[in-house]
């Protein structure tokens, strides 16, 4: 079996003395989509920050493509093929759509190619290319954010709470995009609170709780246990 694109080994991380990650083990096989589920405060977003290089773990290792990347800066990771779409609206609200796309060229793909990909996949963005990103609807903003994943052809894509605050139909549309990116062979770590939504596109799933990964497995079995975690035990 080939080396996983992402391997997280016993990662601990803390804010001050407050430990948020307490020994996370996780691995994403090359070309696979892993859905990472779990309640609020489980440490999912902190894990994203650790993998993307924004936060230094207190201990443990992160390997991308078999290489230890613990001390690599986030912009360097971004330039070599790690695409992180963080929680919330991950676009620059005070820049126009076109300017947002222009900045996506930092990841290594020339600006015209980025614009091409984005506009051909989301014609709506072309209509709004001179509009400030912050004035678009939440769904359109996420489309813009997803353009980076589409255009930069990453080795690993991390999506953090893509659906937050979005209407179900929009979420469906976004996940179709995720499915399409996945079908092109991109490895994806997809963090999501809506278990069903994420499990639709996932090959594997993992559940985080209290700073640890508490379950991993096939989407179907995870979904069954998730409903307990999310909506309360069989009371």
């Amino acid at each position: 079996m080939s080396v996983p694109i992402l391997e997280v080994c016993d990662v601990h991380a803390a804010y001050g003395r407050i430990e948020v990650l307490r020994g996370v083990d996780l691995s994403v096989p090359k070309g696979a989509v892993l859905a990472l589920l779990g309640p609020n405060g489980a440490g999912k977003s902190t894990l994203t920050r650790v993998i993307s290089g924004q936060k230094k773990p207190t201990s443990g290792d992160v390997h991308l493509g078999g290489v230890d990347v613990r001390d690599v800066r986030p912009e360097e990771l971004a330039r070599v093929g790690l695409c992180t779409v963080p929680e919330g609206r991950s676009v620059f609200a005070n820049l126009t759509v076109e300017e947002n796309l222009l900045l996506m060229s930092y990841a290594g793909v020339p600006a015209p190619a980025v614009l091409d990909t984005a506009f051909s996949y989301f014609p709506r963005l072309h209509e709004r290319r001179h509009q400030l990103a912050g004035t678009m609807s939440g769904g359109e903003q996420q489309m813009l954010a997803m353009s980076r994943a589409l255009a930069s052809d990453p080795a690993l894509l991390i999506l953090d709470e893509l659906s937050m605050g979005l209407a179900p139909l929009i979420v469906d549309e976004l996940y179709e995009t995720v499915a399409r990116i996945a079908s092109s062979g991109v490895s994806i770590l997809c963090i999501e609170q809506f278990a069903r939504t994420a499990l639709r596109v996932a090959d594997y799933a993992a559940v985080m709780s209290g700073g640890r990964v508490v379950a991993t497995g096939e989407p179907a079995e995870i979904l069954r246990s998730m409903s307990d975690v999310i909506l309360g035990g069989a009371a």
Partner: protein, 293 residues
């Protein structure tokens, strides 16, 4: 004639720029009851708390407390009328000890008169009550999250509030702590306090709350007892995501059909330049090209 509930949130709207965080939300909390405010991330729960406690001005709508409209009352006066709150992102006084955190709350409550007298009495008792007496002399920025949350609760209780707004009080606590916390909540409610709680631990919510309001996209989409809420299809959709299956119950929580479109797990050969670059990092950063193939 029925008396008005302790807290009435009436048609409150909060907009930040173009984003509507709270959308015509209306709900109540009663004395002696534990009321849960639940909903997915970003549903506007914390914003609701900020509106009730006065840290956020609503765009429209009003808040009534104890039979009086308090929409324009400043934060500190609302506190003096009996609204206490804790914070999701903790707001403990980090440079003070746990005990002094509670003492500050008592001093503030005692007002000018209290400022000239040294505070005395039941700071220890309050810490004991929430179960963190052992941490009394530690700095608040050095205690675990769970303890800091309980500290915020104790600090709140020092002001003897009629209504407690608890924002994710159990996150950072383990199972036994959460259980003890549930008992404490019932206890506080039994004293006649109203408790309004935002919480993600559904075991806790379902076991201690008398009534639940479910918020989604800033709107109250359901209100009822825990049992009613759990079987409400709208709530299921809000929490577990949308599916075409219409009304569902817990028994048919199955993966939706679209899973069929999942691509093959094992990809073909290295397929793009970025991945090549990722691999090249081994030389860039470590001088060791091995490991990837």
């Amino acid at each position: 004639m029925r008396t008005e509930p302790l807290l009435v949130v009436d048609d409150v709207v909060v907009r930040f720029g173009g984003v509507t965080a709270v959308d015509h939300a209306s709900f109540v909390a009663r004395s002696g009851r534990v009321t849960g405010l639940i909903g997915p991330n970003g549903a506007g729960k914390t914003t609701c708390f900020n509106v009730i406690s006065g840290l956020q001005k609503p765009t429209s709508g009003r808040v009534r407390f104890g039979g009086r409209t308090i929409s324009h009352t400043p934060v500190h006066r609302r506190a003096r009328r009996g609204i206490g709150r804790t914070f999701q992102r903790l707001e403990a006084f980090g440079s003070l000890t746990v005990g002094d955190n509670v003492r500050v709350a008592r001093d503030i409550r005692a007002g000018l008169l209290g400022a000239v007298r040294p505070s005395r009495g039941d700071v220890g008792g309050l810490l004991e009550r929430v179960g963190i007496a052992a941490y009394a002399d530690e700095r608040a920025d050095s205690v675990p999250t769970g303890v800091a949350r309980l500290l915020e609760l104790a600090r709140c209780l020092a002001g003897d509030p009629k209504l407690l707004l608890l924002d994710e009080p159990s996150s950072g606590q383990d199972e036994t702590e959460t259980e003890a916390f549930g008992v404490l909540l019932r206890d506080l409610a039994a004293e006649g306090r109203g408790i309004l709680m935002v919480e993600h631990d559904m075991d806790l919510v379902m076991s201690v709350c008398d009534e639940l309001h479910v918020l989604d996209f800033g709107e109250v989409i359901a209100t009822g007892t825990p049992a009613e809420i759990r079987s409400d299809p709208a709530v299921q959709r809000a929490y577990l995501g949308y599916s075409d299956a219409g009304s569902e119950t817990r028994t048919d929580l199955q993966p939706v059909e679209t899973t069929a479109v999942i691509p093959a797990v094992t990809p073909s050969t290295p397929r793009n330049s970025a991945e090549g670059a990722l691999r090249a990092m081994s030389t860039d950063f470590h001088g060791d090209p091995g490991g990837t193939s």
